[in-house]
Amino acid sequence: MAQPVVSLQHLQKRFGHFQALKDVTLTVNAGEVFGFIGPNGAGKSTTIRTLLGILKKSGGEATIFGKDVWQDAVWIHKRLAYVPGDVYLWPNLSGGEVIDFLLKLNGQRHSAATDALIQDFALDVTKKCRTYSKGNRQKVALIAAFSTAADLYIFDEPTSGLDPLMEAVFQKHVRALKTAGKSVLLSSHILSEVERMCDRIGIIRAGEVIETGSLADMRHLSRTQIKVTTSQDPSAIQQLAAVHGFTQTGSQISFAVDSEQLNTVLTALTPLGIQQLQSTPPTLEDLFLRYYHQQEAQS
């Protein structure tokens, strides 16, 4: 099997007495989009900063392209592009200046692709960075990263300041990277966002990676919330094994269903005459809840 692009083995990071990363183990393979999800404060940014050699690990192994992230930081950075979670830029430089400068540091130039990206993200590059909103600063970093020719792209909560329209633009460009065979590591605290783009995900909580795998692998952990109104009495649905937390008010019922059993339940619903159907994708919290229920059940 080909060498993984990013490999973390039992990575640890302490800040004084506080252990921010306890055990982070994950790999990102070549050509895959890896989603790194966890709630706020779980250690996503800390992991990424350790990967970039901004922070020094306290234990474990961390390599990118097979090289140590601390020792060979500069070598690695020649083949990598990164967008921080909170982008701050020198207030007296213009967005255009920053983009060009960041490109030049990696020996690259402002190209037609850069101009296209600026168009796509609808950024006024002649404005001073001082006047940019959080989303606009993020755009500057995204444009610089997307127009860098690299092998690995790292995004730390890239859409936290973007509006839905720009989020779509971002997703489009990530897909383009994937098509081009690049590897992407993307952190987020929103499961649905990661779900749409990622091949595999890793879930981090309180400094520990508790689960990695493809989303399909994790279906057993996730439940979709369904709210449905039918023309006939739907109470029979309650009997299905995949249905949980069933409540009924008149002809409206709501319940959670194991994601992999969705088809079975919908098949049972259809003959009842669906008048209104609303499904809410599983959230990260649901995933955690399920995960811990399972752990308890096992022990």
């Binding site: 800040f15 900063r49 970039l52 050699g53 901004i54 922070l55 020094k56 930081a73 500069v74 950075h77 020649k78 990598l80 592009a81 990164y82 967008v83 921080p84 909170d86 982008v87 701050y88 830029l89 020198w90 207030p91 007296n92 430089l93 213009s94 967005g95 255009g96 200046e97 920053v98 983009i99 060009d100 400068f101 960041l102 030049k104 540091l105 990696n106 020996g107 402002h110 590059v125 002649t126 404005k127 001073k128 001082r130 970093a141 610089a144 790292i154």
Partner: protein, 538 residues
Amino acid sequence: MMTHNANVGQLLHLNLRRDWLKLALWLIGLVGLMGGAAAKFNGLYGTQTAMRSIITTLKAPAMVSLLGPFTAAQPYTVAGIYAAEMMVFMGLFVAMMNIYFAIHATRQDEDSGLVELVRAHATGRNAPLTAAILELLLLNLTAGILEALSLQVSGMHGMTTVGNWLFGAGLAAFGLMFGAFSLLWAQLADTSRDATMMSYVWLGSLFIARMATDVQAPEATWLTVYGWIEKLDIYATDQWLPVGLMLAVTVVLGVLTLAVTQNRDVGAGLLPQRKGRQGASVWLNSPLALIARLERTSTLIWLFGLGILGATYGSIFGTAGDLLTSNPTMAKLIGTAATHAANRTIVLAFTNKLAVIFVILATLPGLSTLLRINADERKGYFEALHARNVSRTRLYASIAVYGLLVAVLAFFCGMVGMIAAGQAVMPHAPTVSHLMRAFWGYVPALIVVYGLGACLVGLLPRWQSVIWIWPAYGFFSLYLGSLLDLPQWATRLTPYGWINNVPVAQVQWPTAAWMTLLGLGLILCGGCAYANRDLMVN
């Protein structure tokens, strides 16, 4: 009006709670300096001989340029000497204190987004500004009262109660006036950094104008604003007019500031902003180029400013080194050749004092650049940079080298300005290479202080601001130290005090060599520590 200032009391309370330590430290420093010096003066200048000799010194043009004119009339008193020595100097400190708090309470809070949060609550449009004004009022009032009281209890010979209170009131009004200037600049400037820069350019210009007029046209000192503080004539005729003038200017500035602030957006200045560049210029392609681009304006101001300061001091060489006019009896006694030699000696001794001022001032832009390593890191500006093809060593080296270069160059500009102007106005002036001894002598001290700063940056990033103590104390100990008769160990606490009396004496090359090596070693040390630690995130 009331709604414009809603909740101002709460805001003031918050500001004071946040700043209390800084306020207390400034007050202790100022009052301690005033009272401490006053208590020491009886011992220093208690005898008639001591008094006569210091008065001759103070009347020399060189000293007038440094400390202001000596205007007291006979019979001389210790208190009269004290007022002459301390006034201009204390004024400088008080002005700096007010600039700091004025900018801190206005634009710095805006830059950090604090004002946005405050204004979203039920606070009036002008409330942050009014709170800043009140904070300055309170600060200066307290400072003035404490200064006057410290003089009262000092037991200095020849002091009067009226003089003591005038001293306190004068400094308070002076400080308030410079605070008010800064509040106005804060409305115009784009960022707090720019507002601070404008404030210091203004203070520096007035100070230079004061110095030039004091030596060459004392009447014109009235026009320099800064010179008003000298016209108080404390412990002699005790003039209250300058206090009134300063307060009047303060009120006018305050009204103006309140008027223009109405037309200003939070976080922006009134001066028109140019549009930014479409892309980066060709040479903006390395960390070194970046730091040069970021520091461009400030570097130019420092180099130019020190050049002007040097030239202004140099232009009084002719007057300073002119025994024929200032002491004709002595000149007649020792003959022409000897008089020229004596003139040169005076100028060389004066150059030593000036070199100390230049080198300490030149240290400031260097250190301020150096501290950006952590300051900009903490603001998150460098995060995107670290993921690029830039090693930490390269980033550190770029900033450290640029800062050191600017510091040395600024010192050089001061010296060159002084020498050029001095040579122009003084016949039989010391040679250029003779005067440049002061440059070669003091550069190593600059490098050591810079190296200490670099070590702090690398090893103790959270404590890096401590480095400002060295230039601040160095300035005090060497500018006033000889007049206050500080013991030798007290002047040796900073590297500036390790240098021998250049340019009067030869440069001690061995000392220069080991100090330079020490400084460079410290810079390397800081670099190693920086390359091997966590960066300052958040």
